[in-house]
Subunit: 409 residues, 2 copies
């Protein structure tokens, strides 16, 4: 008799964003004329930049000719032209030591952050911040690393590290031993960033406790203060304890194109139950090459163009546009009396909901009264209750309009 | 202490094709002038057809403009324009009943066949043919559904169904209870096909035994006899027991573009240990939307064009070219005295190695003496020993040249 993976039955009914999509569709069906402004899911709105589309057109033409056609990307780990551009621009330029064969090109950071847990044993204790990007939690639930859902959004065995206004969104080191630590900076959803000193504490903790840090840096391009690290490998010792996830989704508007990458340093090890150290690079390589077959050549050529001089300039302009939205939102919401966090080095504004209004109620209120879609903090975890995320990804005019409408409710 | 997933340590050192790549690189380094002809990995050589590249250029232009830009593919399951084209052309046209919301667009059948096992319990018994596409086996090893490797390429707990010349490459129904059955027709690597009657036996077996069939139809476009089923859903009852995997890789030369899809019918269930039936469609949907973020809009527009009148005509011409290579190879090798199988409804020729020559020795012999790369049968499983796979994906001239060279050794 075919058995189902019962861990899936522990999951809450829907992944957060489909549930938001469902509510918006219901509202739109009942109010077909409502001029909805979406500041919810965090999807980009600006088109691909010219340097990228030019490179993609050229790549499509190459794929149309026998002499320049590309089939499988050998091994599926990504073309050297892209991996080398990443090494030079994302790591060497910031003094971080990463080699091109430690980089695995993928179809996005969501997939990689979801898949990476597979190479670790099921007995590891997982630590996440609360609130947190739901993928880290849900994929560990599916794998069986947690107990049951407590009905309030928390799972047994998982260690939650609250990040609230009270601790300035800086999680404390866990008081109990943990093995897999998910960190995301600039943070989704709170918009908080980590200083070098704060990250150093985590690296030292991981070294001491033989833990692994799964570091999601998908939003590093939004950092505006040069002293804030873009990569965990800017921290001494990180190569021994950290895997880093990156994405072109927000950096270069690739949400609908799909490209990201993951760094698995060769210094990393995990242990067998008998205590034998096992290098993780070959294990992830085996996983990647067995279950994945590479990213489109056309996409990889587009990603490479992000690092060209024009590409860099063009994507920077787009990021500045989004960040100027964030400035607008911070100013308007603060003026309206909201307590506002984030939005300084991240495309997300994290605000406190009005007293006595929970985050899904605030979601419905904004949707109904202002026709503005945001994301309820509770969707990111129990400690996200009482907070609300607004994304800076939209046209400046729409963002201003949304702020005006919110001011009237 | 961070624990590794020790199941990975059960795996043989390398995935088959990287190992072949390694041997070829070593040979090429030592013999830089050797005119190597690759009939190994099964990668396509013909460029994308004009209908596809035209659609991709248009899609790139759409992505370059704000008004027509596409971000996330909502939910990541694929655009309706593509899912509907698939329903009409791949299923309705053959009398198979599949709805568009049962189709999940993905970045390829390798990923889907590898990932699908996640939604099933770890106690299920897995049955595979031998020889077999290694991904089915390796991904179940990684998940922990098998015992140790016996050193001869077989894993404990897994049920192997030999397919050899003796049984005409038709596996027998398992004599012990099995829960997850991987079938691939037209078969990789043997090139064998299954008749309606043969598939009906499997469907009936699965219904009776509450088993699930994981049906890989990645090569259906190569079928030349209309009475042979292209989809398992042409068989009555299959909607209750079968998941089907499809790919644009070989059909439309998308190995370097990455697009495929999987059908999970709403009639499918698996069971909890206590015997409660759980529909699988919502569970796979949850898995897909949590760990995957959709396929590039540009790629999906290219895939849609495969179903346009010009697209259909153009991809058919490419398939005919490859199949005419297969005809050439069958004829030449038969004349040379080899026992030849497959290649009639599949792009793979499966031949018996000369008496006393094992398949890796034959691989080295072909590489060294004829500078031709094939795939040793033993790489596909213990029962593949004594066989050898040659792929029909290459230029007709190179294929003819390869046959001539082989005739001289």
């Amino acid at each position: 008799m075919i058995l189902v993976n019962e861990n899936f039955l522990k999951l809450k009914a829907g992944y957060l964003f489909p549930e938001i999509g469902r509510r918006v569709r219901v509202f739109a069906a009942e109010n077909p004329d409502a001029p909805i402004i979406k500041l919810g899911i965090g999807d980009v709105t600006e088109p691909l930049v010219p340097a990228v589309t030019k490179a993609m057109h050229t790549a499509v033409d190459e794929m149309a000719k026998k002499e320049t056609f590309h089939g499988y990307d050998d091994g599926g780990v990504g073309y050297e032209f892209l991996r080398e551009a990443i090494v030079q621009n994302d790591f060497k330029s910031r003094g971080a030591n990463v080699a091109s064969d430690e980089i695995f090109i993928s179809d996005g950071a969501k997939c990689d952050t979801g898949n990476m847990q597979e190479i670790f044993g099921l007995d590891n204790v997982v630590a996440v911040t609360d609130p947190v990007y739901p993928v880290y939690v849900d994929t560990n639930v599916m794998a069986g690393r947690t107990g049951e859902n407590d009905g309030k959004g928390r799972y047994g065995k998982m260690v939650y590290m609250p990040c609230t206004a009270e601790n300035n969104f800086v999680p404390e080191l866990p008081s109990q031993p943990v093995d897999m630590i998910y960190l995301c900076y600039p943070n989704n959803p709170t918009g908080a960033v980590a200083t070098k000193e704060q990250l150093k504490k985590w690296v030292d903790y991981a070294v001491e406790n033989k833990a692994i840090i799964l570091y999601d840096a998908a939003y590093e391009a939004f950092i505006r203060d040069d002293s804030i690290p873009h990569s965990i490998y800017e921290i001494e010792g990180a190569r021994k304890v950290a895997i880093e996830f990156r994405s072109f989704s927000k950096t270069a508007g690739f949400t609908g194109v799909r490209c990201g990458f993951t760094v698995v340093p060769k210094d990393l090890v995990a242990y067998t139950k008998s205590g034998q150290a096992q290098p993780l690079h070959p294990i992830w390589n085996r996983r990647h090459c067995t279950k994945f077959n590479g990213v489109s050549y056309i996409t990889q050529k587009g990603a490479e163009a992000v690092y060209s001089p024009e590409g860099k300039k063009q994507v920077k302009e787009v990021i500045n546009l989004y960040m100027s939205n964030a400035d607008t939102m911070r100013a308007a919401l603060t003026e309206q009396g909201y307590q506002v966090f984030g939005g300084e080095h991240a495309p997300y504004i994290w605000l406190k909901t009005p007293k006595g209004v929970d985050s899904w109620t605030f979601f419905d209120l904004l949707l109904n009264k202002a026709n503005v879609v945001g994301t309820p903090g509770a969707g990111f975890g129990a400690a996200g209750e009482g907070y609300f995320r607004l994304s800076a990804f939209n046209n400046p005019d729409k963002v201003k309009e949304a702020m005006q409408r919110i001011s009237k409710i």
